[in-house]
């Protein structure tokens, strides 16, 4: 043990340039440093919290994408929405997975990380023992088909769409929204 300690001391003495090299790197003052862009963490979502989730950006349009790991259409639909959203960055995107948060959080995080989502996309997963409870809080007119997309304008008016979305649907929604506002 003593030998190991002495060896470490010797290495430290032989390498005085290490801390100096670190110090030599240019450091921006804190006010000029870019913030680390960490995506929001996946959060459990209860039916009772849906209203709060939707009220995060009052007065702004948003898309809530309801998906699941086992839904083969869902990832393609997310690709389409993300491609459309890059031209409409004022529209907030929220992802809600119907898979159980408790059972699937690591896998959901992994799949979400591959989706090229806008950096501030909110990410949620079902925390209700009865998934129908959350589904109903999100959208009373859907019975489980996925993907389900909620298009919510700045006034809070909701439009639900099941299945793969064409850009036309999103463009039409945006035009109607602009007419109303």
């Amino acid at each position: 043990m003593t030998r190991v300690f002495l060896l470490l001391i010797a290495l430290w003495l032989c390498c005085p340039a290490w801390p100096a090299a670190q110090a030599a790197q240019p450091q921006l003052p804190p006010q000029l440093q870019l913030p680390q862009l960490q995506p929001p963490q996946l959060q459990p979502l209860y039916a009772a919290d849906v209203g709060h989730m939707l009220a995060q950006t009052p007065g702004k349009p948003q898309i809530v994408e309801i998906w699941s790991l086992d839904c083969s259409y869902c990832r393609e639909n997310v690709e389409r929405i993300v491609a459309w959203q890059t031209k409409h960055p004022d529209v907030r995107l929220t992802m809600v997975a119907m898979d159980s948060f408790d059972d699937n959080a690591p896998m959901l995080e992994q799949v979400l990380a591959t989706m090229q989502l806008p950096p501030h996309t909110a990410r949620h997963a079902n925390a209700e023992a009865i998934p129908d409870k959350l589904r109903r809080a999100l959208d009373t007119s859907v019975r489980g088909e996925l993907p389900r997309t909620l298009l919510i304008d700045a006034r809070g008016t909701r439009q639900g769409e099941s299945g793969l979305l064409s850009p036309d649907v999103l463009d039409r929604w945006r035009r109607q929204r602009a007419d109303r506002e």
Partner: protein
């Protein structure tokens, strides 16, 4: 050696017994690494479930693609039928740069008590990717299958076919429901099927008709013609309840329907019965409820005694006779 299995209500393991009840059979879908991929697996027990054979893969195709949503039934002579959703044709079409809607369904038959399965046959192209397949025996002992099909263009109605045990016999699918629901989505909501001795096919299925999402009952006669109108059988008069995932059983001359009914807080199982071939039905009766997660309901016939089989997260497993109050 333990292996992973798909466990969703729509894609849960299945169990059946040989006609002499001496052998039990189970199938399940085993996930692979790639998303949506899986193998249909099979094992049997000849000692009442105490020990099981080493699982075998039912299909000869070994690609790491979808072979999932297995369905299992044993005909009266003993052959074992396993059907499943299969992605091989969609994959081949994609590789060839050709369009292909949905998946396909295949089936395989074992005529040696589950020791082996004959090479699988395709039932049909263009089916829903994520809805369970319903299998039922008809009065002649034949196996009939009902599944959610993808009709042009992306119409998700149901189709039905007799599955021959003999690979030389042709398969002739026919359209079974006519809701014309257009959607490119995963409903995860497969149909239920029962066949009565007059050859009538009784079907319970989920769809969206004229903008209304509901569970429906309809009949198809022995010649493949619709008999009567579809009926939204779960309408209970309670505002705001949602019905789903029906089971359907023919026991002698009686038909039974069971389904999930969610009122916003509680999941209930409701049942109806018909004693005149599905033309008239009793009022819905609540058989069970739970405040937590639950499987889809199943109906089981034990020599004329019908039971609801239902697994719940908080209230355990329930095996309840359906006919207590009707006696």
């Amino acid at each position: 050696m333990p292996e992973p299995i798909y466990t969703s209500a729509e894609n849960r393991p299945k169990i059946a017994a040989s006609p002499d009840a001496r052998t039990l059979y189970v199938t399940w879908s085993m996930p692979l690494e790639r998303p949506y991929s899986g193998m249909v697996r099979f094992a049997r027990s000849t000692d009442g479930g105490a020990t099981w054979t080493v699982p075998i893969t039912v299909h000869h195709d070994r690609q790491s693609i979808t072979h999932r949503f297995d369905a299992l039934i044993v005909d009266r002579q003993g052959p074992i039928f396993v059907a499943w959703i299969d992605r091989r044709d969609a994959v081949a079409a994609k590789q060839a740069g050709q369009p292909y809607d949905g998946s396909a369904i295949y089936y395989a038959v074992s005529s040696d008590g589950g020791r082996s399965f004959a090479t699988e046959r395709k039932i049909v192209d263009h089916t829903c990717e994520c809805c369970q397949i319903a299998l039922a025996l008809d009065g002649e002992g034949r196996v009939q299958a009902l599944w959610r099909n993808v009709f042009p263009v992306q119409i998700r109605d149901h189709a039905l076919a007799v599955l021959p045990a003999d690979a030389g016999d042709s398969i002739a699918p026919l359209r079974a429901t006519f809701s014309t629901w257009h959607v490119e989505a995963c409903p995860e909501h497969g149909p239920a099927l029962a066949v009565t001795h007059d050859g009538m096919r009784h079907m319970a299925w989920f769809s969206v008709v004229n903008g209304r999402a509901d569970v429906y009952y309809s009949r198809l006669d022995a010649n493949g013609k619709p008999d009567g109108e579809r009926w939204a059988f779960a309408a209970t008069g309670s505002a705001g309840t949602q019905a789903s995932h029906a089971a359907l059983l023919a026991s002698g001359s009686t038909l039974w329907l069971a389904w999930k009914d969610f009122d916003g807080d509680t999941m209930r199982i409701l049942v109806r019965r018909s004693d005149d071939g599905g033309r008239h039905w009793s009022a819905p009766r609540e058989l069970a409820q739970t405040a937590g997660g639950s499987d889809n309901p199943q109906l089981i016939d034990d020599a004329g005694r019908v039971y609801l089989s239902w697994r719940t997260q908080y209230d355990g497993y329930m095996l309840l006779p359906t006919d207590e109050e009707w006696k």
